[in-house]
């Protein structure tokens, strides 16, 4: 089996850098050599960071800065550190890109007019990182590649050496390799370069391109371009989707909802303010509660519309926790808001205003906490012959116009096709509404000549008496083809409770002497009679 090579898996390298940039880069790198040697001299004598002057053309040309975390933190703190890096970067430029899990690139072109030369930009970025207490290095350079390599080469105390003296191994992180490439393939060109005695970027950059291409293929050329400081792709900033995360470690555990509401308020107020500044709303809220038993209680609330009112969000979280309480006291609270473009509402003078999504969310959450989540919503008819077949969906009256047609189609399927099973099925009782008994209500029915003549029940509130009119029977059955349904359909009560299982029954519409008109049915599997509902 042949292993795909780098050339097979990658397209040709686009030439994104013009000749003028190459010349300018060469000039920059030459200055970089002189500057590095001079910096080392200055530092050796004075112990201070030297101030360098830069040519005016660099103040107006492309400039990129790379912020790189010195040490890779743990998974928990990596997210926080990255957020801080992004925050610092966004304070300087709106064009920001997360280059890797510990690197953030930002486009600082044109910032020279505001701040000064690149060295000054670098110093201000370093100061901002120190203020934010982030252990990260900074490098400013005309290309992303140089900025990333220099940020990588810099350590906590030492500036990177001259570009040409840097190790070739620094390019490993910068290569955009296809995922299908295994580790051996990834390391192969570096092993080859090591055998050739090529250890620095300067040596790699000086190799003849044609010979390098004939020996290392397309990847060799790509490495050489990186060694010359050229970018493999233009700078594409990340979409402006900052993360809205709030986290609070509590001094002592909280095991009640009321004190937790104050914590939520403290976290949600700044998050909502940040959302408002970004002209965004929260489409979803993720709540992570680290408990004292080291478990994490996670709840995700999908909101019907983007909203950012902290009081509404807090109420929704509290109501949700009321329904789904954590198993232990809470140690750490983390809230993440999923941002979405804000809602634009155009009210109509002619149509009546519907409840706002915030109101509906709160109301639905309150009702769900009161009666249960599955018992609140809008009914939807399903295309089934099963008696009382329906589903519940989230109540969203905005989508009603679109859903009306679908609902009508479903309704036609359920009512028109299911014959006697529908509420107003084959008997054509279009002017009557059935009040269904969803709990199993057994009745005693006397039958004469194959026709029910009397209904009795020991249960209070169930109509009884002599049957004065009867229509039927309409036989209905289903689910018998499915073993699972058959197994569940042990009794009609079970079917009524969970809406599943096989059914096989004879239905009658009967008028009782007391005036009530009911639908009763005989379950043919258990040979028992039940009350389906009362026409009202």
């Amino acid at each position: 089996m042949s292993v795909p090579s780098y050339d097979d898996l990658t397209p040709g390298i686009p030439d994104v850098v013009d000749a003028e940039t190459v010349d300018r880069l060469a000039l920059f790198l030459q200055k970089d050599i002189h500057r590095s040697s001079r910096d080392q001299e200055v530092r050796r004598h004075s112990g201070k960071h030297p101030k360098t002057s830069c040519s005016p053309d660099l103040l107006t040309s492309c400039l990129y800065a790379c912020l790189r975390l010195h040490a890779l933190p743990t998974a928990d703190s990596l997210q926080t550190a990255n957020c801080q890096l992004l925050t610092v970067a966004r304070d300087f430029s709106p064009r920001v890109r997360q280059a890797s899990e510990r690197e953030v690139l930002l486009d600082v072109s044109g910032l020279g007019r505001l701040i000064g030369p690149p060295d000054e930009i670098e110093r201000q970025l370093a100061r901002a990182l120190r203020d934010a207490r982030v252990a990260a290095g900074v490098a400013v350079a005309p290309t992303q590649t140089i900025a990333r390599v220099q940020a990588h080469a810099a350590t906590d105390h030492d500036a990177p050496g001259p570009w040409t003296q840097l190790s070739v191994q620094l390019l490993q992180e910068l290569e955009a390799l296809p995922r299908g490439l295994n580790l051996r393939e990834r390391a192969r060109p570096y092993e080859t370069l090591e055998r050739w005695g090529i250890a620095t970027l300067g040596e790699l950059a000086a190799l003849p391109s044609a010979d390098l291409s004939s020996r290392l293929g397309r990847r060799g050329i790509a490495l050489q371009r990186l060694a010359r400081g050229l970018d493999a792709a233009p700078f594409v900033p990340d979409a402006d989707t900052p993360r809205f995360i709030g986290r609070l470690e509590l001094e002592w555990p909280i095991d009640a909802l009321e004190p937790l509401s104050f914590v939520f308020a403290r976290l949600l107020d700044p998050l909502s303010a940040a959302l408002e500044r970004a002209d965004r709303g929260a489409a979803a809220v993720r709540l992570d509660l680290r408990l004292t038993d080291r478990a994490t209680h996670t709840r995700v609330l999908q909101l019907p519309a983007p909203m950012r009112d902290p009081r509404v969000l807090r109420t929704l979280l509290l109501l949700d926790l009321e329904s789904h309480p954590p198993s232990a006291a809470v140690d750490i609270v983390a809230i993440e808001l999923d941002p979405a473009p804000s809602r634009i509402t155009q009210f109509s003078l002619l149509q009546r205003a519907l409840p706002s999504p915030e109101t509906l969310s709160t109301l639905t959450a309150r009702l769900s906490a009161l009666v249960g989540e599955s018992r609140v919503g809008s009914p939807v008819l399903v295309d089934s012959h099963r008696p009382d077949a329906f589903a519940m969906t989230r109540y969203a009256p905005e989508g009603a116009k679109g859903a009306k047609r679908a609902n009508g189609a479903d309704g036609a399927g359920a009512n028109g096709a299911n014959g006697a099973n529908g509420a107003n099925g084959a008997n054509g009782a279009k002017d009557a509404v059935l009040r269904r008994e969803r709990r199993s209500v057994a009745v005693h029915v006397s039958v004469e000549h194959g026709r029910p003549v009397h209904v009795a029940s020991s249960r209070r509130g169930v109509p009884y008496g002599v049957i004065v009119q009867a229509a039927g029977p309409w036989r209905a059955s289903g689910g018998w083809w499915d073993d699972a349904c058959r197994a569940q359909g042990r009794g009609p009560g079970d079917r009524h409770r969970n809406g599943q299982g096989a059914w096989n029954r004879d239905e009658w519409d009967v008028a009782l002497s007391g005036g009530a008109v009911c639908r009763i049915f005989r379950d043919r599997m258990s040979e028992r009679w039940f009350l389906e509902g009362i026409y009202d």
Binding site: T359, L360, P397, G428, K430, D431, A432, Q469, G472
Partner: protein
Amino acid sequence: MRAALESLLRARKLDVTLAPLGPDGELTGPAYDAARVAQTGTPALDAALGGGFRRGHLSDVAGAPSSGRTTIVVRAIAAATARGDAAALVDACDTFDPASAAAQGVDLPHLLWVRGTGDAAQAVKAYSLILQAGGFGLVVLDLAGAAPAAVRQLPATTWMRLARIVEGSETAALLVGADRIARSAGGATIACETIAAGWQGTAHRARVFTGLAPAPRLIGGRRTEGGGRNADAGSGAKPPKW
């Protein structure tokens, strides 16, 4: 003087008591603004109610099983959803049938259905939450399946509180029960009586049930079709007065 009084009543949202009167003091037109009522979907009832259930007031529908009370309510919900109102139904005993409602024209996505567990107090609490939220055109509390004793055990102030919540809002609140429950001063009470069912065919195998034709009777203090006002002619238990 009269104009000043009328403007003061309108400012206090008490203008519903104003009725256009002729020179001899007789009623000359509808007493209520069409925008302040919610049509019931039953033309005869709309005519009797002066356009429909009044918004901002609590009305009730009472009747025995198979008296057509649910049909009236479902038609009112259908009318509400047809005109774009949001409607809510608190179904205390979970007896609502979506298929029947869809056949009556209810736009189901516009209906918030709260399926109760048979607990009247819980249903009243859910009803109160919906009324407090506001924004609904019609909110119905169906207590017809609840035990009358459980309904009677609810404090009388419950209904007064509900009437206060809905007062001045754009919501028409409706209670449904086997007996008359309560209504606010501007609301209506509709009594449904057991009626003969419609059947077609002779032999039971060929016979079909064609439905009920509800004949509601207005016994609240609302304007009737003829322009007068009915006295409270109900024979059952009277609703609490406040």
